[in-house]
Amino acid sequence: MPSHQHMAHLVPPLFEQGRLEDFTRSGRVVSHTMSPRDDTLAVYSSPLSIPQTSSAQGAFHSDDHPIYFASKEEAPRSERRVFITDTSVIFAATQNLIKVSREENVTLLQNDDAVRALGKLACDYVNFCKECCLYASQNISRADPLQYDAEHYRRLWTCFSLFAVLYLPEPGLEDAPIGDELMEWLNTHFIEPSTQEGDELSSQERPWEDPAFWPYLTRTCLRGLSKASTFFLKVLSKHPSAYLQGLAQELSPLLTNHPRLYQYSAERDFAVASRRWKDKVKTLRLELDRVPESERDDGFENWWDRFSDIVGILEGRGEIVKKVCMELGADWKEVCSVWGIFVDTRLRRQDLPEVVAQVIDEMPPDPTDREDMVHSSLFLGRPAQALSEAAQLDIWLAAHLADLMEPIELIDPEADDSELSLRQHYILSYAEYLRTDPALWRITVDYMYSCGSVGTGMADQVLMRVPLRLENHAAAGTSGEEAASIRAGHLAGVLKSVNETCFEYQREEIRRMICRIAAQTFIKEKEYGLAISYCTSAEDWAGLGRVVDLVLEEYIAQGPEQFARLVANIAPSLHALRTDAGTKIPAPGVFLHRLMFAVRFAEFHQRRASGDGQGAALDAVTMFRDDIAPKSWWAVLLCDALDLLRDGSMFFTSNDACLLIQKLEEIHLAVGQGAEDDFLPVLCRVTKRGKKHALQRLEVARLSLAKYYAKCGAIGVGGRPSGWIH
């Protein structure tokens, strides 16, 4: 990365330059920790050794100590972020293409349509680089300053388009000569000679007197810019030398009519035309040679030498091409591109590395120029090296090149020792870079999930840490609304997106973990209904049990009203659970049972509070009859139920009363046998008194029940008692 420096000095510094010893002598060292959010480092000064006694503390370093935060890279912003999100769409399309091709069980290379599609995708990447480059080069005022300059995107553009030219030809054209395409690439990205030079020369009366004239003309000939060439050749008709006038006139049509492959439908026709054209060049050379030595200089320049160079290029003399390029300050790229136009017009892709290797021998690429290194590696047919160079230019480039290189079998799809293939390595490195902005998590995991089991493992780590933002007191704005929506029982906001992503990549484990965490958040807020929904969704039955326990704790701590209110929103969850119980979710009965009790118990209190004594009584009896009430709660339930009878109401039938008496006796019997810990603690906690008091309360209950039963017999409420035994 251009802006990427490997070293950072934190400010304010903790010691002066070169004074590490002072720092150490003060008993300090640095320590750090790494953020799971974006790999940010928190750095702080730590004691070299910790004093063992508490008295020593404070005396040592009573000062204010800072914590620094530092990142390896700057998070993408501004145009870079747009570039990243836009190109991720192409990446997704590429994955899709490869997936489809894999499903059809053919290698992508065997399928022309697929190769063509891949070429189009590469073209899309190239266009995005171009767009971004053009955008960045606009001289406009921007809301955000550019993170990378136009030059950076230009580099990406040249590299990606060279890759597309060299490695992704139209199916069927793999063996076609490549000269034209290379020259087009060169002319697009490395414009020479400059328009300004041309303008300056064309404004002159006798441009040949300008030292820039002949280099300019030579360059336009090299580049196949026949319009510019012929313009200046026409100007030469005013040149004092009659020889040159004639020669220029003859050269002009040669340049204009230089046969180029794209003008022919068959390669054979092109070859024939080329041969004929070459013959004409030979004729020109013969005429050139006839110019007497004395006429070859016009006083400013030895025009003959210059002209001879141009003819030499047209003749396809490799040595002349190299010599001319060196004189013009052109580099190896230009020589290689010119090679396919003039020297070897039938130069094919597979022959290119050999030619390039020879050229590079004499005109090596600039090792400090990453772009040039990527170009040369691509020209030389060394994709792995190109990736390594590209990674240093911009990891975006390496990742997306590698992604296209693997399906066309340029790089080994097999994993190396690290259990990553080359493609996976670069894609994951890019994904790591994306992690610098946690908000890009969707894109990050898309890239990671495309990288086998290791990528999946990494994506899981990212996905499970996507902040759910469930907190009610979260800052206002969308997240607040989302939190509210989630509270209303809808899947919304981040939670929804994370869920969808889990589903898309079949990450059930992660989904469950996220549900468990969400449940925990709701528990904290006493949103027990939601907590239960999420526990259920996570199939976390132990967690469900804990929620129920907490709900019942509310009764103990807060009393019946608060309890009933809290549980009111659980009922729907229970209903859902019940419906599902028989079908897909094997909710273990024990948890379900406890949950049902909590709900019925709350209903009981709600009815009681709203004055529906009859209904409440029915609830209480049902809880005993259906065995919903856990033993530990019997005593509480009995006491609460008998509270209903205080005002002399007759809500229980004699059968019901009988059942209650039976349960009461069971408690007494068990307590008598020493099992009081199974029956009494909850009542003790509710009354906030000891066991003795609890037993007293049960005695009172027994008395009132006995009285009630007797009353039933006397006034015939709910039928006469038919006896003690049922």
């Binding site: 010691f15 790494m34 702080y44 004093p51 690290s418 800052a475």
Partner: protein, 452 residues
């Protein structure tokens, strides 16, 4: 590398440990001043605000660890007061439901909506507790501690909502813990018992670590005049743990203890006694004259070979491992364990479990022979060995994907290490608390060996 933030006056004394929560939205720090602070990140501007602060122990706090969020918002602190405490964040208005003890740890700072409550105190350690780490969440709400009595202790929370009861499941003397099968497996490559004669690479002549070392000894001896033996050991020693994050192999933890320079990979099976699967014992270069920066900063690539006893001479000294970090396995078939020690080395170990098919066989062949890929046993090799800090390394830590290792050394720098294509680990930048100097920065950038 770029600086992205600063908390100017975080603590009134040196910070002993810092730990991010699961999401990286909160940072818990502890200090010599016996206090814990919890900082909250404001994502809109990247700033940190102190959310809570409280006095947590009666001596310096050595380590702080967050539990997985599915258990709630829970912290554990380990201290030189020989205790470990469990803290939970609860809503401020919450009635103290289960009769749990309150510790006056009330909420402070901007967020008055919650407070931290002490839920339990673990007092089993017979020495200062040097590290605490919650187990990966799939093993339940468990935690491991290690203290200067060389004991690794594993606790499990018995009552989850209340967090009040923690059962001591295991208590293991790391130094004497035997290997799985005394007759065979994984003994040979480890040399677990050969502590006194380990050779080691001496540091540069006038290295800062020697100054540090002298200071340390001096400091300790000053404080503990009556117990010189123990004092030296405590100052020279390193006690560190790190859980294996993977679920597949059951509960496994890496633990380093004392001064022997060895990290043991300890398995904690549910029904049997813990055992050592493997020991990570760096056998440094036999040539003591080459601990230069450049030669050792590349990855060694080769597996450590068993040292031949006695050759190293009587003067050889072992250096404690101060920090161990187990990388998340992230779908790899192998594990990455990083160690940092007083010998100034950051090492990356590639730890390979037995091939799954072999696993059932249990017993491998006898302990002789090859390392990596050996059937039926755990094996390890060093894939990166860096002495760039040129002074004791105090901390190593992985990022969540196990792709970047960070290390802090007594050279006042935090360094990053990254795997490059072809499984080669290389330096990936560093940060310094030294005052910047333009020229210095240029030199530093130049010397980074990040390119071929």
């Amino acid at each position: 590398m770029i600086q992205t933030g600063l908390i100017p006056n975080a603590h009134h004394d040196l910070v002993t440990d810092a730990s991010y929560d699961f999401y990286g939205h909160r940072l818990a720090t502890c200090s010599l001043d016996q206090r814990v602070k919890v900082w909250q990140l404001d994502e809109s501007n990247g700033s940190w605000a102190c959310e809570h602060e409280w006095k947590a122990h009666d001596a310096a706090i050595s380590k702080i660890s967050w539990a997985h969020p599915e258990f709630g918002t829970i912290l554990a602190t380990a201290s030189f007061d020989r205790t470990v405490k469990i803290w939970e964040q609860v809503p401020a208005l919450d009635g103290d439901g289960g009769g749990m003890q309150l510790n006056g740890a009330s909420g402070v700072g901007a967020s008055g909506a919650s407070r931290w409550v002490e839920r339990a105190m673990l007092v089993d350690a017979k020495g200062t507790v040097r590290s605490v780490e919650f187990a990966p969440q799939h093993f339940g709400l468990k935690l491991a501690t290690i203290s200067s009595d060389n004991c690794l202790r594993i606790y499990e929370c018995l009552e989850q909502p209340s967090l009040a009861t923690w059962q001591l499941l295991e208590e293991v003397d790391v130094l004497t813990l035997p290997a799985t099968s005394p007759a065979g497996r994984s003994v040979s490559q480890t040399l677990t018992m050969a502590t006194p004669t380990q050779p080691s690479a001496p540091l540069d002549g006038n290295s800062v670590s020697l100054v540090a070392h002298a200071l340390q000894q001096q400091a300790t001896q000053n404080q503990l005049p009556g117990r010189p033996g123990l004092g030296t050991r405590e100052a020279d020693g390193g006690w560190c743990i790190s859980w294996c994050k993977d679920r597949y192999w059951g509960e496994i933890i890496a633990a380093g203890c004392g001064i022997d320079g060895i990290v043991k990979i300890i398995q904690i099976p549910p029904s049997r006694r813990p055992s050592t699967l493997l020991s990570l014992n760096p056998v440094p270069s036999s040539d003591p004259s080459r601990p230069s920066a450049s030669s050792a900063s590349g990855p060694s690539g080769s597996a450590p070979t068993p040292s031949t006893n006695g050759d190293s001479g009587d003067g050889a000294k072992t250096y404690a491992v101060t920090s161990v970090a187990w990388a998340p396995s992230c779908g790899r078939s192998y594990h990455l364990v990083a160690t940092g020690g007083r010998d100034g080395h950051v090492r990356i170990w590639r730890v390979k479990p037995p091939a799954p098919s072999e696993e059932a066989d249990g017993f491998g062949e006898d302990g002789l022979g090859a390392q990596e890929g050996e059937a039926g046993r755990w094996s390890a090799s060093i894939v990166g060995d860096f002495d760039d800090h040129k002074s004791a390394v105090g901390r190593v830590e992985w990022n969540i994907t196990g792709t970047i290792l960070s290390s802090a050394g007594n050279d006042g720098r935090v360094r990053l290490w990254k795997m490059t294509a072809g499984n080669v680990w290389r330096p990936a930048g560093h940060i310094s608390v030294e005052q910047a100097d333009e020229q210095q920065a240029d030199v530093d950038m130049g010397e980074m060996a990040v390119e071929d």
